[in-house]
């Protein structure tokens, strides 16, 4: 494995090792570019993961102090936990469920498609579906995405079978076990899914793709990629020329180091990435790095989400098998006659007993709640994920008082639903309730959003410098050797789970970076 000197100013430094950073690191290394990934967390192998929700939560989650504000219920129920993401090599691709969906063509151009929506800061992406097609294919082949490339989908588990029966009764047409990046047959040296469940807790069989144990080792094998763990980046530094030239990070013991860099790519997820840019203010960049537009941290999106759990007369055992292998896509179209723009997906979901207690109806107590819990083994469930409206006021900022153990201001996450989000959620609850009632549900529980797993948009891509933070390559408008490589570059969120798009964008960005470096443009 490579080891580069901290004074080596020819390396590419990537901050974060998840879907964006991990894949970018692999791609750059495969192209022969010397790359250092700085990862705030530690490294776990699949066999280290635990089939235990709270124990796993303690093992891999990002638990550093954060605060919340806004009218979202997460700010009330989980005020210190705005997001449910991972701090480890592989980032949130350890925790992700595996759903790998392409954006629909119109979702790259929603300002054009939806028109002006009051209170929303919509923009079209500066790229389109035609350009993304080959990158999606490359990403799907790397991740082994099922339902693409001739790869057979997973068999349906009990939760899916209930869901599918309801989908048929509802007259839905497009439902299946999902385009999951989970092996249905051995692929890329990894075994097929054992239907363990616990997809959110790190896949112990390794059947699920993760940048942590799939992409990064491929990069490391080239001898061009070094991954430094427990390296929390505090600041990105620049020279008099306005170009970034290194980063300051703290190791496990709190010792401060500097790593020189030719380019810096930020991929710390949509809360940490803007936090780092804002904390990298200087005399030259008084509002924070890459922030001449004032857009860093703004337009925070989290997807319109919710869940629906249904209780049946007979047992289901919905937790047996793959956590999220099931989807209805019929509602993902843009059909304003439903009373809102954009659309949503319905995806099967099961939680274990401990997390069901925490999330079914946070804060609730008494017999209505426990009567539902008593029927845990008779439950089926689904997650709702839809496009939410970007709003300039939904944003990540630095807390004025609180600092972390390294003295870096902690992030505050402010979020309030847009009216469109609320209408879409209510529609989705109504449809999914009808779905389960059509197959005999005796009780249906409409569960509010969990802490965010899809954090998007806080360093968004734009056609014009004034409207965003990065250009169509994820390159800072202000600093040309600084890149954003995670979901924070999303212009809008679309209805689909974001990981596949983050991976495809990282692959596309790697090609651009390599060309720019070889032409000495950066």
């Amino acid at each position: 494995m490579a080891k580069f000197s901290k004074s080596d100013n020819s390396v590419a430094v990537i901050i974060g090792s998840g879907a964006g950073g991990g894949v970018l690191g692999m791609e750059l290394a495969l192209k022969g570019i010397k790359t250092v990934i700085l990862e705030a967390g530690g490294r776990h192998n699949p066999q280290d993961f635990v089939n235990d929700e709270w124990a796993s939560f303690g093992q891999i989650s990002w638990l550093d102090k954060r605060t919340t504000s806004g009218d979202w219920r997460v700010a009330r129920d989980f005020s210190g936990l705005p997001s449910w993401i991972v701090k480890a090599v592989g980032g949130s691709t350890l925790h992700w469920a595996g759903a790998s969906l392409r954006f629909q063509p119109h979702e790259w151009k929603v300002k054009t498609e939806y028109g002006n929506i009051k209170g929303a800061s919509l923009e079209d992406w500066p790229i389109d579906h035609k350009e993304m097609d080959k990158w999606y294919t490359k990403a799907e082949n790397h991740m082994g995405t099922l339902g693409t490339g001739g790869r057979e989908r997973l068999p349906g588990n009990n939760n899916y079978k209930v869901f599918e029966a309801g989908a048929k009764r509802m007259g839905y047409k497009d439902f299946h076990t999902g385009n999951m990046s989970i092996n249905s047959k051995p692929y890329d040296g990894r075994i097929a899914c054992q239907q363990i469940g616990f997809c959110f807790q790190g896949c112990k069989s390794g059947a699920k793709w993760s940048s942590g144990y799939v992409s990064i080792p491929k990069g490391e094998a080239t001898g061009k990629l070094e991954v430094r763990t427990h390296a929390q980046v505090l600041k990105i530094e620049h020279g008099k020329d306005g170009k970034v030239n290194g980063v300051v990070y703290a190791d496990k013991k709190g010792t401060i180091h500097k790593q020189r860099a030719r380019i810096v790519c930020v991929a710390g997820n949509s809360i940490e990435s803007p936090r780092l840019l804002l904390n990298s203010e200087s005399n030259m960049f008084k509002n924070g790095l890459a922030n001449s537009s004032g857009q860093v941290g703004r337009n925070y999106m989290r997807h319109m989400t919710a869940s629906t759990y249904a209780i049946f007369e007979r047992p289901v055992y919905f937790y047996r098998g793959t956590t999220m292998a099931g989807i209805v896509t019929d509602e993902s179209r843009n059909d304003p006659s439903r009373g809102f723009v954009g659309g949503y997906e319905l995806e099967t979901l099961a939680l274990g007993l401990p997390f069901m207690a925490a999330f079914l109806d946070p804060g609730q107590w008494g017999r209505e709640f426990t009567a539902s819990m008593d029927q845990y083994d008779h439950m089926a469930g689904l997650w709702i994920v839809g496009e939410d409206m970007p709003q300039a006021s939904n944003r990540v900022t630095l807390h004025k008082k609180f600092k972390d153990k390294f003295g870096m201001p902690t992030p505050n996450v402010h979020f309030s639903d847009h009216e469109n989000d609320i209408k879409m959620r209510n529609h989705a609850w109504k449809q999914s309730t009808a779905l389960y009632e059509s197959v005999g549900a005796t009780k249906v529980i409409q569960t509010p959003p969990y802490p965010s797993t899809h954090n998007l948009g806080t360093n968004r891509m734009s056609a014009k410098a004034r409207d965003g933070v990065v250009n169509k390559h994820g390159q800072s408008w202000d600093v040309k050797n600084l890149f954003i490589s995670d979901g924070s570059q999303f212009t809008t969120g679309a209805a689909e789970n974001p990981t596949l798009t983050i991976v495809a964008l990282a692959m596309r960005q790697a090609e651009y970076i390599a060309k720019q470096m070889s032409s000495k443009a950066i």
Binding site: V50, N51, D52, E53, W54, P155, G156, N157, N158, K161, V162, A165, C193, Q194, Q195, I196, G197, F198, K204, S205, R314, P315, V316, Y317, Y319, R320, G321, T322, G352, L353, P354, M356, A357, A358, G363, W365, G366, R367, F369, T370, M373, D374, Y376, D377, H378, V439, G440
Partner: protein, 181 residues
């Protein structure tokens, strides 16, 4: 379909859940005893009476008639230990229980724990949901009670599966009643 046997609901717990009695706990000295002395807990830092009141409160917050008191007591016992190190916690528990008991004395002429009817005890709790003690017990219980591996089988939850080869050959897709609905 591989269906798990959950613990049958006994007549006693059925009755307890409906109307008959909340007086399942016996307090003797620093120790509280469960029904038929099936379990006991000895308290050092908070009084056994307060401990028994907290156990009752825990059950009234998350009432599962098929769970014995010992599972609620397992969470509450932690408070006794914590109260030994944390004087403000000890003070808060004593003060808040006094408030709850005085409210219940006023309305139902009895201390909270000694009120027979669940609906009346819950009525007292509903008036005290802003109490820091209520918030603490509820918050600790929602994790502590449902994260106790001993209760999982009673809800039909099997827990860890990787060491058993997952559910690939153990019923991940064995649902057999969907064609009947």
């Amino acid at each position: 379909m591989r269906v798990l046997k959950k613990q049958a609901i006994s007549r006693r717990s059925f009755l307890k859940g409906s109307t008959v009695t909340a007086l399942g706990l016996t307090v003797m000295g620093p120790t509280i005893f469960g029904k038929n002395n099936a379990w006991s807990a000895t308290f050092k830092n908070i009084s056994a009476d307060d401990g028994a009141t907290l156990v009752q409160m825990a059950r009234d917050i998350y009432p599962h008639d098929h769970l014995a008191d010992k599972y609620y007591a397992a969470v509450i016992s932690g408070y006794d230990k914590a109260a030994g190190k944390d004087k403000s916690l000890k003070g808060m528990i004593g003060k808040e229980l006094k408030k709850i008991n005085s409210a219940s004395m006023k309305k139902y002429k009895n201390n909270y724990r000694m009120i027979n009817r669940e609906v009346e005890r819950v009525d007292i709790l509903k008036a005290n949901t802003k109490s820091p003690l209520f918030a603490k017990v509820r918050g600790d219980l929602v994790v502590g009670l449902y994260n106790n591996k001993e209760v999982w089988p009673k809800f039909g939850y099997e827990g860890e599966s990787a060491s058993k080869g997952g559910y690939l050959n153990r019923g991940y897709n064995d649902i057999d009643w969907l064609d009947k609905v």
